[in-house]
C-alpha cells in the first residue's frame, strides 16, 4: 500500500519536474530567437523542412475534407430546403474549427514527429553535445530556428487548408450537386466574419503551431538518447500534441465563440 502511494508520488514528482524542464527549455528557446535575425538562412532552411514538406499533405487533406463537408452538408441542408446555406456551413466549419484543428493534427504527425526524431537522433549521436563543446549553443543554433519555422508555418498551412477546403466544398456543391454559385458565395460572405471567424481561426492555428512545435522539440531534446528512447519520444510527440490541440481548441472555442 505504502509502496503504491510512494510510486504515485514518484510519478507525480517526475511529471512536475518534466513540466518544469519543458518551461525552462521554452524560455531558453525564446531567448535564442532574437539572435536569428542575423541567421535568416537557418530559418529559411527549416521552413523548408517544416512547412514546405507538409504542404502537399495539407493541400490534399484540405481538398478532401472540404469536398466531404460539401457532400454531407448538402444532404443535411436539403431536408430543410436550405441548400443555399451550404457555403456558410462549409466556410464556418473550416475557418473556425476544421482548418486550424485538422491541419495542426496533420502538422503534428508530419512535421512534429520528424522534428522529435531529428533532434532525438542528434542527441543520441552526441551531435548536440559536440556542438556545445564547439562552443555553439545547440538551443540557439538547432532548436530556435526550428521553433520559429514551426510557429510561422502553422498559420499559413491552416489558411491553405481552409481555403482549399472551401474550394473543395464549392466544387462538390456547385459542380456536382448544382447549388447556385451566387448564393453559395454571397451567403458565405454575409455570414463569415473577418474578425470573429477568420482571425480567431488564425489565432487558434498560431497557438497550435506554438504548442506542437514546443512539444516536438522538447520531446526530442529530452529524449532518452537511445534508438528506443527516440522512438518513444516520437510517439509521445504525436499523442501529446493531439491532446494539447484538442484540449486547447475547446478552451479557445469557449473563449472566442462561447461568450
Amino acid at each position: 500500500m505504502i509502496e503504491t502511494i510512494r510510486s504515485l508520488g514518484r510519478w507525480g514528482l517526475a511529471t512536475f519536474e518534466r513540466i518544469g524542464r519543458a518551461h525552462i527549455f521554452l524560455f531558453q528557446v525564446l531567448a535564442g530567437i532574437p539572435g536569428l535575425a542575423f541567421r535568416g538562412s537557418l530559418v529559411v532552411q527549416q521552413l523548408f523542412y517544416v512547412g514546405v514538406l507538409s504542404f502537399a499533405l495539407i493541400l490534399v487533406s484540405g481538398l478532401f475534407v472540404g469536398m466531404v463537408l460539401g457532400l454531407q452538408g448538402y444532404n443535411t441542408l436539403v431536408d430543410f430546403g436550405a441548400e443555399e446555406s451550404l457555403g456558410v456551413l462549409v466556410s464556418l466549419s473550416l475557418v473556425r474549427e476544421l482548418g486550424p484543428v485538422v491541419s495542426a493534427l496533420l502538422f503534428a504527425g508530419r512535421a512534429g514527429s520528424a522534428l522529435t526524431a531529428e533532434i532525438g537522433l542528434m542527441k543520441s549521436t552526441e551531435q548536440l553535445s559536440g556542438m556545445e563543446m564547439m562552443a555553439v549553443d545547440p538551443i540557439r543554433r538547432v532548436i530556435a530556428p526550428r521553433f520559429l519555422a514551426g510557429f510561422i508555418s502553422m498559420p499559413l498551412l491552416a489558411a491553405v487548408f481552409s481555403a482549399v477546403g472551401i474550394f473543395g466544398g464549392y466544387l462538390v456543391g456547385h459542380g456536382l450537386l448544382g447549388v447556385d454559385d451566387g448564393a453559395f458565395w454571397s451567403q458565405m460572405q454575409a455570414k463569415t466574419d473577418w474578425y470573429g471567424d477568420v482571425l480567431n481561426g488564425v489565432i487558434k492555428s498560431i497557438v497550435f503551431g506554438f504548442v506542437v512545435t514546443w512539444i516536438a522539440l522538447f520531446e526530442g531534446y529530452d529524449a532518452v538518447p537511445t534508438s528506443e528512447g527516440v522512438g518513444r519520444a516520437t510517439t509521445r510527440t504525436v499523442v501529446h500534441s493531439a491532446f494539447a490541440i484538442l484540449g486547447l481548441d475547446f478552451v479557445l472555442t469557449v473563449l472566442m465563440f462561447g461568450g
Partner: protein
C-alpha cells in the same frame, strides 16, 4: 602550474557515487591518460571538465578559471579553446565532411570563403582525409569519422583536446593511425591532450602520465613505466588484462553452493 586542476571532485548519479574525492593535475604540453574499467565515469570526467555537468562538490580549474563558476558566455568563450573528440565522432550528419570541419569557423568567425577553404583543407590534409571532403558522415568508417572529428576539433587551434575512448572498436590499422595522429598533433601544435581509454597498450605507448581510476577514486598515478612496476595487485591486473584477481570474475553475492541449496527463490 597545471592547465587543469581538479580538486576533491565529488559527483553522484542518483544515489550512486561516480567520483568521491578525485584530485587530478593535467600539465601543459603533455599527454595525460585517464584509465580505468568500464563504468568508472571516465567520460563523465570529460563532461565535467567541459562544463556540461556540474560536480556535487569540489572544483575544476581550466587555465586558472573555475569552470563551474563561469557565466554562460564565459563558459562558451572557454570552450572555444577546448577541443573534444567524442567516441562516435559526433559529426553533423546532414552536412558533408568539408562543412563539418568548416562548421566551427563559420559559427565563430566571419572569415571569407577562400580563407575558410584553405583552413579546412589544411586540417583535413593533416588527418589524411583531404580528398574525402565531399563524403557525407554516413559514408565514413568509424576511424575516418574520428579523424574528421579530430580535424574539426582542431580548426579553432585550441589549447587542449580531450579524447573520449579514441581507440575503442578500431581495427589495428586505424588504431595505429589514431595513436600516431594524437601523438604528432600534441607535439607539433604544442597541445595538451587528455585521453580517456581502457586500451592499455596503445594509451601507455603515447601517454606521458597516467591516472588509474576505480570506484570513484584515483587508485594509482605515474608514468607508464612506473605503473607497470607498481606493487598494487589491482594495477597489475588492469595493466596486464588478467581475467581474475582483485577484481573478481564473479559479480559479488552469495557463494554458488549456497545459491544452489537455497530454496527461497523457487516459486
Amino acid at each position: 602550474m597545471p592547465l587543469i586542476k581538479i580538486r576533491d571532485l565529488h559527483f553522484y548519479r542518483g544515489d550512486k557515487a561516480i567520483f568521491e574525492g578525485v584530485n587530478i593535475d593535467i600539465h601543459r604540453g603533455k599527454i595525460t591518460a585517464i584509465m580505468g574499467p568500464s563504468g568508472t565515469g571516465k567520460t563523465t570526467l570529460l563532461r565535467l571538465i567541459g562544463g556540461q555537468l556540474r560536480p556535487d562538490k569540489g572544483t575544476i580549474e581550466v587555465d586558472g578559471q573555475d569552470v563551474h563558476q563561469l557565466s554562460h558566455a564565459e563558459l562558451y568563450e572557454l570552450r572555444k579553446r577546448m577541443g573534444m573528440l567524442f567516441q562516435s565522432g559526433a559529426l553533423l550528419t546532414d552536412i558533408n565532411v568539408f562543412e563539418n570541419v568548416a562548421f566551427p569557423i563559420r559559427e565563430h568567425t566571419t572569415l571569407p570563403e577562400s580563407m575558410i577553404r584553405d583552413l579546412v583543407l589544411m586540417k583535413l590534409q593533416a588527418v589524411g582525409l583531404r580528398c574525402a571532403r565531399d563524403l557525407m558522415p554516413g559514408e565514413l568508417s568509424g576511424g575516418m569519422a574520428r579523424r574528421v572529428a579530430l580535424a574539426r576539433a582542431m580548426t579553432l587551434d585550441p589549447m587542449m583536446i580531450m579524447y573520449d575512448e579514441p581507440f575503442a572498436g578500431q581495427d589495428p590499422i586505424s588504431m595505429g593511425i589514431l595513436v600516431n595522429l594524437i601523438h604528432h598533433m600534441n607535439n607539433a601544435m604544442n597541445l595538451t591532450s587528455i585521453i580517456v581509454s581502457h586500451d592499455v597498450t596503445e594509451t601507455a605507448e603515447i601517454a606521458d602520465f597516467i591516472y588509474l581510476l576505480s570506484g570513484g577514486k584515483v587508485i594509482e598515478k605515474g608514468s607508464s613505466v612506473q605503473l607497470k612496476k607498481s606493487s598494487s595487485p589491482w594495477v597489475q591486473q588492469f595493466m596486464q588484462g588478467l581475467p581474475d584477481g582483485p577484481v573478481p570474475f564473479h559479480y559479488p553475492g552469495v557463494s554458488f553452493s549456497d545459491d544452489l541449496l537455497s530454496p527461497e527463490e523457487i516459486s
